[in-house]
């Protein structure tokens, strides 16, 4: 191979790392999910959170939970299918330790919001808790889908 190197300077190494990071960033930016799809996924998830917070024995909000869950599943499947048609297969299951950690943290955050939305309404009597929980979950979902469309997390200012 004519490009073989056994030694490399600090500057060269830094430049190489920078180029790897910029390749990943450019790729992730060009793999953006359509905004309509991001909105639909987030709205359906918000519906699940809101319905869970409002569900009682004598109301129909459980139906909202089922509709929200089904819509969420359909829209996520559509997102994966759209990406596949474009030539991108997204990693659904995390492969690296860092990604397992970050996804567990995300899961915990979403679970806490979901549970608190209901707990505050039922036990503390705060009527708007499900509204706030749904809003926070929805906005956070939009942010994550927009910023990390392939699920790959890149640290800020990585050089």
């Amino acid at each position: 191979m004519n490009n073989e190197k056994e030694t490399i300077s600090k500057e060269e190494a830094a430049a190489t790392l920078k180029s790897v990071d910029s390749t990943k960033r450019d790729a992730i930016q060009s793999f953006r999910i359509p905004l309509l799809l991001i909105t639909l996924i987030s709205l359906s998830y918000s519906l699940v959170v809101f319905s869970w917070g409002m569900t009682e024995h004598d109301n129909l909000w459980a139906l909202g939970m089922y509709i929200g869950s089904a819509s969420f599943g359909i829209f996520v499947a559509f997102y994966l299918y759209t990406f596949r048609l474009l030539g991108i297969k997204v990693n659904i299951l995390p492969r690296s330790k860092e990604r397992i950690k970050s996804e567990l943290v995300l899961l915990l955050i979403f679970a806490v919001i979901l549970i608190l939305g209901r707990q505050f309404r039922v036990y503390e009597g705060f009527e708007y808790a499900p509204h706030i929980a749904a809003l926070i979950s929805g906005v956070y979902m939009v942010y994550l889908l927009y910023k990390y469309p392939t699920g790959e997390y890149l640290a800020r200012n990585q050089k």
């Binding site: 191979m1 490399i8 790897v20 990943k24 392939t150």
Partner: protein, 96 residues
């Protein structure tokens, strides 16, 4: 200058970029990689062949909707080699 245990197969700029791209997803189609790298079919094929020979990437040809598509993915060996190469670069820079 620092003596470094480099993976020469990965260190070539285009091949490093191919690995970086493939690391962000499960699989990418040939055409997408070509567009991202802004290289010709033949140049990309040449680099892919080197990576495939080293068992760092997997090429799968499939016909979908009457269209032939070539899917590329990093093998676990390739993923490990790429990560250790990046670790080595970071060590040189002094980040580790």
């Amino acid at each position: 200058m620092t003596k470094a245990a480099f993976d020469n197969v990965i260190h070539a700029p285009n091949r490093l970029q191919i690995c970086a791209l493939l690391e962000t997803t499960k699989e990418l189609e040939f055409q997408i990689v070509k567009e991202q790298l802004d290289v010709s079919d033949s140049v990309l094929s040449k680099h892919l062949k080197v990576l495939e020979d080293a068992n760092y990437i997997r090429l799968i040809k499939k016909t979908e909707f009457t269209r032939q598509r070539t899917w590329l993915s990093l093998t676990s060996l390739g993923r490990k080699a790429f990560k250790s190469h990046l670790r080595e670069l970071k060590r040189i820079v002094g980040k580790i």
